[in-house]
Amino acid sequence: MKLDPLTKKKIRRFRSIKRSYYSFIILSTLILLASVAELFVNNKALVVSYQGSLYFPTYSAVRTGQFFGEDYEYEANYRELKQKFDEADEGNWVLMPIVPWNPYEQDFNGEAYPPNAPSLESRHFLGTDESGRDVLARLIYGFRIAIWFAVLTLAICYTIGVLVGCLMGYLGGKFDLVMQRIIEVWSMVPFLYVIMIMVSIIQPSFFLFVLINVLFGWIGITWYMRTMTYKEKAREYVMAAKAQGAGTWRVITKHILPNTMVMIVTLAPFGIVTNITMLTALDYLGLGLVPPTPSWGDLLQQGKSNLNAWWIMSSVVGAIVTVLTMVTFIGEGVREAFDPKKHTRYT
């Protein structure tokens, strides 16, 4: 992809804002790492060397305990396997991920009743929650779900919002008028309230949940895009394009959209913050994704009800603060880089 000089300049400006640039790099790395979280946080072994051949259970089909010479037919327990192999010392070995727990697994082997404090020995680096599940594992998988929820919701909202907004601004007239009224009524609906009612009726799956949130999330960007398109429509380049015979679709996609991109790019990071916050809030109230799903809101709720278990609260609040602040920093940086308004200063 070739970038025009203007875009290059914007990117250069973004990179010069250190706070935002480093946040961007760290957050991208975190998202990438979380996408392959199975390699770091899992109860399946990374590599098993058994009788001379290597197995990679993380992404392969389920292997039973019998396969590795155990006497049970359900999936192999790699943590026990590792211990056994180490003790037997027959040249077989198991390489476990850094956190050898998966987010759904309950660990009741600890000496105390969960929640248990962090311990290096049991490899619960951030302790366990009230059902004995590893907090770090739930934090990481919760992050993965939250960020993908936010990105997916945002993408669908923006697709709808940009399309409708552009059409409203470009076509104007009756279409604009009717859509304006619809949006006015729709934006008056207290959406969190309605989502709560809807979710308390149906327990939605991930994608249904995204759709419910899209239902109420597309309005904001539509409003902005409408105004932007209105402004752009009156500019000479649009008239020139029209005079040369370009159709509505072509004018919108080839001429107006690239010039209104700034708005979309600038608002996107803040949209991500809103979506993550919403998911966490609904999960906190128990109205989010179906319970065993790892989520920050659920951890927050547990932290609130187990104030003695300081590790739950501090790790989840730490995670929320870090991620949301970084996204906001990125947003501010993008805004500054893409908005060429420079302020004159007096001293």
């Binding site: 006015e184 809030a281 300081w310 603060v321 602040t325 200063r345």
Partner: protein, 339 residues
């Protein structure tokens, strides 16, 4: 202009009907209404009595169920029922809670003072802090003070207020024991003297108030700062300075006044904050206000209460929007709505 605002006020009516009709319809399709709840409660009771097996699952006859449905108006078509609800609403009758058998209006007005208390003080404090801070940040743009407060403001903006709430409770209520864990007043509030009562409310209000302010604060401060910066760079300020007006005077007499205009458009929100507030903060701090009532009524499927709160809050929200525009028109003589 007056005609324009008159039209805006009239437009509230169709929007109001649209919003309430939508939620009303939604609540009708919901399983677990008052009748179903009653049936399951009776089943529980008969189970405890140990006679459940003979009577099967149904403890109420079909006739009785029909009677109950008629009592709650659930036998009528949606539009008819909605029309009845609307008719009662015009007479300030919000119906009766299906859970507590109390008039919804009483339940709401009982909790209103709590929400208004928080709304009012949030409004006062956030304006008193944000506007001066915004001005300071604009005048010292790029300085150390500006950068330091920016980080704080951004974090306040990024963090959901209820997360801050949960965090504050952990630190200052649980570990340090400086503030109560929640609630609006202490249990023995009625035995206190007036001074003690005021102190008690203030003591309970510190943490929730911080949460309320934190969100508003960031937006207001940044709006103020950016507008002032923009105005300082505007030609009319440059002209004024070029003509020899001292910088301080230019800021005070010209830039500041114009920068307050967008802040005025925020004023209308205050109306809705009084009632809607943030129900999450009320849930976290267990403050018995409208927000907590709304949350509980949704969870308990107490739909007359849900509808009542929806009606009041959406009405106030719309009035607030109109009021925002009135404020802007009052402050800025250039704004001519409707012409």
């Amino acid at each position: 202009m007056l005609a324009y605002f008159g039209r805006r006020l009239l437009l509230i009516i169709p929007t109001f009907i649209g919003v309430t009709l939508m939620v009303f319809t939604l609540t009708r399709f919901v399983p677990g209404g008052p009748v179903e709840r009653m049936i399951s409660e009776m089943q529980m009771q008969s189970m405890e009595g140990g006679r459940a097996s003979q009577q099967g699952n149904q403890t109420l006859s079909d006739d009785q169920i029909a009677e109950l449905n008629a009592y709650y108006g659930l036998d009528k078509p949606i539009l008819v029922a909605y029309w009845e609800w609307l008719n009662k609403l015009v007479r300030f009758d919000l119906g009766e809670s299906t859970r507590y058998y109390e008039p919804v209006w009483d339940m709401i007005s009982e909790r209103l003072p709590v929400s208004v208390f928080y709304g009012f003080w949030t409004f006062i404090i956030s304006y008193l802090v944000s506007i001066p801070l915004g001005v300071l940040k604009a005048l010292r743009h790029g300085s150390r003070v500006d950068n330091a407060t920016s980080v704080a403001v951004f974090m306040g903006y990024a963090l959901p207020n209820y997360v801050v709430g949960v965090f504050l409770i952990t630190i200052f209520s649980f570990h340090m024991d400086w503030f109560p864990m929640g609630g609006f007043t202490s249990d023995d509030f009625d035995d206190f003297t007036l001074v003690q009562q005021i102190l008690d409310i203030a003591h309970h209000a510190v943490l929730p108030m911080i949460c309320y302010i934190i969100g508003d604060f960031a937006i207001l401060t940044m709006t103020m700062k950016n507008n002032l910066l923009e105005n300082l760079a505007a030609d009319y300020v440059k002209t004024a300075i070029a003509k020899g007006l001292p910088f301080k005077q230019a800021v005070k007499k010209h830039a500041l006044r114009n920068s307050l205009i967008p802040i005025a458009s925020h004023l209308g929100n205050v109306v809705s904050v009084f009632v809607a507030g943030s129900f999450l903060i009320e849930v976290v701090f267990n403050i018995d206000g409208i927000g907590l009532l709304g949350y509980e009524s949704i969870m308990e499927r107490d739909y007359p209460v849900v509808m009542g709160i929806l009606a009041i809050s959406s009405l106030l929200l719309m009035l607030g929007n109109v009021l925002s525009d009135v404020c802007v028109a009052l402050v800025d003589p250039r704004v001519k709505f409707g012409s």
